[in-house]
Amino acid sequence: MNSESVSDSRLLFILTLVSLIFIVLFLRLWYIQILQGEKFLTLSEENRIRLVRVKAPRGLFLDTNGQVLVKSRPSFNVFIIPEDAKDLTYIARQLAELLSISEKDIITKVKKSQRPKFEPVLIQRDIPISKVAYLEEHKMSLPGVTVEVEPLRYNIYGSLASHVLGYLGEINEEQLKDQVSYPGRRLGDLIGQYGLERSMEGFLMGEDGGKQVEVNASGRELRVLSQKDQKPGHNIVLTIDLHIQSLVEEAFKDKTGAVIVMDPKTGHILALFSSPSFNPNLFAGGISAADWKSLVENPYHPLQNRAIQATYAPGSTFKMITASTGLEKGVINRNSTFFCGGSVRIGNNVKRCWKAGGHGNVTVIDALKQSCNGYFYKLSEKLGISDLAKFAMSYGLGRKTGINLPNEEPGLIPTEEWKRKTLGEKWYPSETADAAIGQGFVSVTPLQLVNVVSAIANGGTLYKPMLVKEIRDSNDRVVKVFKPEIIRKIPIKEENLKIIRRGMWAVVNEEHGTGSKARIEGLDIAGKTGTAQVIKLKSKIKPKMLPEKYRDHAWFVSFAPVDDPKIAMVVFVEHGLKGGDAAAPIAKIIYEGIFNKNGELTRHMPTEDRGSRMENRG
């Protein structure tokens, strides 16, 4: 039986093979444990071989003309190596005094470290150079304490473009588990947590290197045994223009709101500002509890990017979309008129125009120019919400633009179906009238509005807003170029866009135009004001008497020059009241800075002096 099931000779062969393998294992163990045992014992006891990580420098941010916006500066960090700090209480006491931090914190940090005991535990980042000198002098009496240089993030112009650039923060537990996005990151590492620092992390971080070093008994490096070079992160060239960005920030002053300047022919964002802003340099070495608290508890929420994360009623700036729908549906044309008598009855509601006596017979161009509500109420009766919503969505409203920044909001374009699903109610015609003038359920982000204006300016092409132009490696070789991306061609005829552009030109340049405060001699600006209601007022109260949080929002969207648009812009002032009074003048200042007297673009750079002044502040 046995002889049939398996052959003895083959079993014997297997046994021989197995024995041979065991003999090889035995000989190798004999060699390393008996013959080389002494050598390895010394290696394990006296000389220690350790791994030291060499962090890769993070990539830079450059503006569209190659000006450096964010770089790295050296930061001196204090570490304790638990294995070498034999008398931890003594060392903690010494360090606590020098660095004015609590002795207990130091001890907890060291005790809580999950890393191997020979790996340094970070005690404090960015200590002043005088304290570095002190530690170097006293290093013999402080075994286990080391100071290492780490490149620290540094925004050269302080808070400039802070919402675009973002900030760094320590990696959190969840991100640590994500080895795909954050390969090789460890607890305590700083990674991009907001803005482009976050969304471009993969390009910026580079690849850490390291070296195997031999250290003596107190942990000092004796010699480098071998090493792997680090790969610096890539540099990011933005579409942001430092000149325009600083112009915008100076023009907007300390009001609350947002400004976005865009190149309407590419979707490139030349400036994006949300106010109040913050200084990313506060985050560079890990933000202090006090700084964090003051940012988070600030009632104006400086960490919120109002350009993309906040949604507001667009008010009268929405009238271009209502007009587009009417023109494209053939309900109105250039010469057709509606009569505005100051109020319109829709269903059971009476809707009022802002001008008590009404505007009389108005064409679409007049209606845009004077921002006549009556015209658009009557137009809305002939359109219905579904056509209006369809057009608004084709202009990119109601969904994210896809800009390369975290936490963008989609805003809302209401439809009958939406209302039935979320509120369980039917749609009323008066709500279509509200939507037609950008009130009611309609909400947008400033970024979406500047995209709408860009599309009107460039002949109906909706671009994806872009912040990054290209990526270069540390040797300045181009690694990746981001080409303009078209979201869609808006289904509207050029002749109809012309009518709308004509109306927008009139807003700024004709008598009775609501945006006349943006008018510049020699530059053809087209625009539209918007005053978005925050609450409905029962009786007439003077707006300035209202508490700030109930005041209307001020909008001004515009582009210039009309015939060959180079700039599209949205200015939004939160609770700024009238768009024509609060937002249009800011746009004027910005245009004056961007264009020279002949209406040509100017690109003079901020001087070094100015840079260094901000540098000191940052």
Partner: protein
């Protein structure tokens, strides 16, 4: 029945396995006591408990009955392997586990058992020395499906263990020498081709095996540190819970893949050679059981189990002492990890089963 089983059981095998398990718990405790107390040891004890229940059932139920379920078991494993790829969590770059409550199961560990049972079942009614080319193709497909799924995780180590099971069973079935020669040559020729399909970290491990200084921060470093640990143990070792290499966390995965380094450092040459003797006796005993098996099915299952254990021992110890590249293969009965303990104890159960039933007709 029960008493006749107790009387006929191969107690030597049982004793060896128990010594290994106890020794394993001692070493896991040595490494984890400081940071995690008894948590890991208790978890491992739970796995051993479950494993022993499996061992007993694998011993009691006649292996002929077990082999009747070979194909359903095999397909169940295939489904599990696909599930892992579909929904398994990604842990350090690979998907190997399915979670059940607080415990994770690694289906690839059980794929080895399924492979053994399916191949043994397939060949049990073929005459020795009459294996046709079609047989090789069919069993080749049976091998390659789970192999590909495991490589996809990717888990090169476990995938590699499937090969010797296949080869050993074909060898014992009397397949002509020339086939092994051809396969060997083809294998060598295919190496450059396979190189392109390896993941970067796998390439690094092989490069650093050939030249440890090529990747001093990665696996090369680990192997150097492991060698230092084992070598510094000398003849008697540094003593239980006294290994400085281990204490200072120079060695990665100390209680899983690199537990042999802990043994080497703390128990010295005495400990490592002791382990080698235990493993050799285990393998020898398995071969003996194979040679005395009542029928071909029994012999083939026994050979498959031996091939699996031998591959694990060789690859794992070889890695720790720097004569094999780094692959994540656990040391049988020693490394921490539930699935491996379960499948290895099941394997021992099969060996005991075959040993007992050689007398029964």
């Amino acid at each position: 029945m029960f008493f006749s089983i107790i009387r006929k059981i191969d107690w030597l095998l049982v004793v060896i396995v128990f010594i290994l398990l106890i020794f394993s718990l001692l070493n896991i405790y040595s490494v984890t006591a400081e940071d995690q107390g008894t948590e890991k040891v208790l978890r491992q004890l739970v796995w051993i408990g479950i494993g022993l229940i499996i061992l007993i059932s694998m011993t009691m139920v006649d292996y002929h009955t077990l082999s009747a379920f070979a194909y359903p078991f095999y397909f169940l494993i295939l489904i599990a392997l696909v599930t892992v790829l579909a929904i398994g969590p990604v842990v350090s770059g690979s998907q190997r586990w399915i979670r059940f409550g607080g415990f994770s199961i690694q289906p690839s560990e059980f794929a080895k058992l399924a492979m053994i049972l399916v191949l043994a079942r397939y060949f049990s009614n073929k005459k020795r020395g009459t294996i046709s080319f079609i047989d090789i193709i069919i069993t080749g497909i049976l091998l390659c499906v789970p192999l590909a799924l495991i490589l996809k995780q990717p888990d090169l180590g476990t995938a590699l263990v499937l090969l010797p099971i296949y080869v050993a069973i074909l060898f014992i079935m009397g397949l002509d020498w020339k086939y092994f020669l051809i396969a060997g040559i083809l294998g060598i020729c295919a190496m450059p081709l396979m190189w392109h399909h390896l993941k970067p970290y796998q390439k690094n491990r092989i490069i650093s095996f050939i030249n440890p200084n090529a990747d001093p921060l990665g696996s090369g470093y680990h192997v150097i540190q492991s060698e230092i640990a084992i070598g510094s143990g000398g003849f008697w070792g540094k003593g239980y819970m006294r290994g400085s290499q281990t204490r200072l966390n120079f060695i990665p995965e100390q209680f899983t893949d690199f537990i042999f380094s802990v043994v080497g450092e703390e128990w010295g040459f005495v400990g490592t050679i002791g382990l080698l003797i235990l493993y050799f006796t285990l393998i020898y005993r398995g071969l003996y059981i194979a040679s005395k098996a009542r029928d071909r099915l029994g012999a083939l299952i026994a050979i498959g189990v031996i091939a699996m254990l031998m591959m694990h021992v060789t690859v794992n110890i070889g890695m720790c002492i720097g004569i094999m590249p780094v692959t994540g293969v656990p040391l049988p009965f020693m490394s921490y990890g539930g699935s491996a303990i379960l499948s290895n104890l099941a394997g021992i159960g099969l060996l005991l089963n075959i040993q007992i039933r050689r007398f029964m007709f």
